[in-house]
């Protein structure tokens, strides 16, 4: 049992090390400007199109449920003028970035692992090598860059739709007026709350792209192997996002307090 756990931990540390090396190698292509713009745009558009619907539903549901859960309580306490602000803060700082990242990890990270995994088991990755083209440059760089660029954009959508959902429930179900809801948001939410949340999603995007590609490259054993890679890429990406989120949140809070404290 202990040996099994030790082996698992060793494998995980090895995996993290290899992913870091891949990122470093990808970064070296990036700073030398060796990015295929056509591939990048293709990846960005497919990430956006494929996940927009899921991201919207998640954002909408979160915003609506937040108000359902706390609206009436706040009304009873006479604190209805805080509802909009609380929803906006919760969404922009934590809920929209995290839930968007988790949805995209499930939708896009898994698709990357499956696509690259299939390429690996059908020797297409080897074929890239034989054509003297680096798979890191050709497959990894555009995918990671596209996820890192698209995740903040999707999060902005999620924020907006979440707020709209919250406002809808406030007006229709809790009887908070739209003006009160809006005033509450404007007096509570700061631009740096939104920026802080979006900054985290850039890192989450890098995590999703890197894990998806890494699991793809490491695939072996035919269709079964592709299935395993796909599932494990989602599990690992979500785990890393949640762990990273704690440290990034601490960082964002500290940066805000250091540079913007009144």
């Amino acid at each position: 049992m202990i040996n099994f756990l030790l082996d698992e931990i060793k494998a995980m540390i090895k995996g993290l090390g290899e992913m870091t090396l891949m990122l470093a190698s990808g970064f070296s292509f990036l700073i030398r400007g060796q990015v295929n713009l056509k591939d990048l745009v293709n990846q960005m558009s497919s990430i956006g199109v494929d996940s927009l619907f899921m991201v919207s539903i998640t954002g909408l549901s979160t915003g609506m449920v937040l108000v359902v859960q706390m609206g009436n309580q706040m009304m009873k306490m006479g604190a209805e003028s805080y509802v909009g602000g609380i929803v906006a803060l919760a969404l922009s700082r934590e809920l929209a970035p995290n839930l968007t990242a988790i949805v995209v990890a499930g939708r896009i990270g898994s698709a990357m692992a499956a696509e690259i995994g299939t390429m690996a088991v059908t020797e297409q990755i080897d074929a890239l090598h034989t054509l003297a083209v680096s798979p890191i440059k050709y497959l990894f760089v555009p995918r990671v860059l596209a996820t890192a660029l698209m995740l903040p954009i999707l999060t902005i959508f999620s924020n907006a739709i979440g707020l709209a959902g919250g406002a809808f429930v406030s007006v229709m179900q809790v009887n908070i007026s739209l003006v009160t809801f809006k005033e509450s948001i404007l007096s509570t939410l700061l631009v740096r709350d939104i920026i802080g949340g979006l900054a985290k999603t850039v890192i989450f995007g890098i995590i999703i792209g890197t894990v998806g590609c890494y699991k793809g490259f490491k695939t072996y054993g035919g269709a079964e192997g592709v299935g395993k890679s796909t599932t494990s890429s989602v599990v690992l990406a979500i785990m890393l996002i949640l762990v990273a989120n704690y440290f990034l949140s601490v960082l964002v809070v500290n940066v805000n307090e250091t540079f913007f404290a009144q």
Binding site: E123, Q124, A127, H129, T130, L131, V133
Partner: protein, 272 residues
């Protein structure tokens, strides 16, 4: 270190000179020893066919030559350079002089046939689109599949995929062509067509050919020399006639395809 592409060219060698030399190569996957001190020389311009039981590590040897796998010990030389000490950048210079046809053709299924064939040209040359299109058409013509540049690999049959794979492998006019089981899983007519293409490519492009197969008929039809791979080593090398007359019990059993003999199920290892 200065890297010049010319250092990886076979031009300075004469036909018949040793161009690739594999020395004492060892490779194990986990506890499974696949190559156990394999040694062989390949001469410029020849068709060397490596035969051996399925799963004995023939493909592993090709992947070592291409630098897709690195050996546990031993060395490989190409055109006087020690391949096994290459950096990735040096490998890439060498690979531009090589072409490889994979067992399953390994076409990029997100690209069209034309894009597959022109992949290396687009990455490594500054040729215009029309010049590249011309090369694509010429290579498709060469493998007997004119006019299919716009199809996707999923629309092709197994034999067509192999021929497109071959067209991609020869797109950059390589010095060395490696074939990994090119006729496995094809019907007898297609086998003959691929065999003929292999010989044609060798003659027309003047490239050195290493072909791995367990199809004895093909081997005898196309080979200048045949090497028998067994138990992680090359146990016999010779011309077609020499191999046919071999008294080595392993070679005899393999040619006859008989069940009785030194080759048993225990010799079939798992290939990576």
């Amino acid at each position: 270190m200065m890297m010049k592409e010319s250092a990886y060219s076979a031009d300075k060698f004469n036909k018949g000179d040793t161009i690739i030399s594999v020395r004492d190569l060892f490779k194990a996957f986990g506890t499974k020893k696949v190559l156990k001190g394999l040694t062989i020389d390949v001469k410029k311009g020849e068709i060397l066919v490596i035969i051996g039981p399925s799963g004995c590590g023939k493909s592993v040897l090709l992947k070592h030559i291409m630098g897709l796998l690195s050996p546990d010990s031993g060395s490989i030389f190409y055109a006087g350079n020690e391949v096994t000490k290459f950096s990735e950048a040096e490998f890439n210079l060498m690979r531009k002089r090589f072409g490889m046809l994979f067992q399953g053709a390994a076409l990029f299924d997100s690209l069209t046939v034309g894009e597959n064939i022109s992949f290396g040209l687009k990455e490594h040359t500054t040729l215009s689109k029309s010049a590249i299109d011309e090369i694509v058409n010429e290579k498709l013509e060469l493998v007997g599949l004119p006019g299919i540049a716009d199809l996707k690999p999923a629309q092709l049959s197994g034999g067509m995929k192999k021929r497109v794979g071959l067209a991609r492998a020869i797109a950059m006019n390589p010095d060395v062509l490696l074939y990994d089981e090119p006729t496995t899983g094809l019907d007898p007519v297609m086998v003959t067509i691929i065999d003929k293409l292999t010989v044609d490519m060798n003659k027309k492009l003047g490239c050195t050919t290493i072909l791995v197969t367990h199809d004895m008929k093909s081997a005898f039809r196309i080979a200048d020399r045949i090497a028998m791979h067994f138990n992680g080593q090359i146990i016999e090398v010779g011309t077609r006639e020499e191999i046919m007359r071999s008294t080595n019990p392993v070679v005899k059993q393999f040619i006859d395809g008989s069940e009785e003999g030194p080759i048993t199920l225990a010799h079939v290892t798992v290939e990576k």
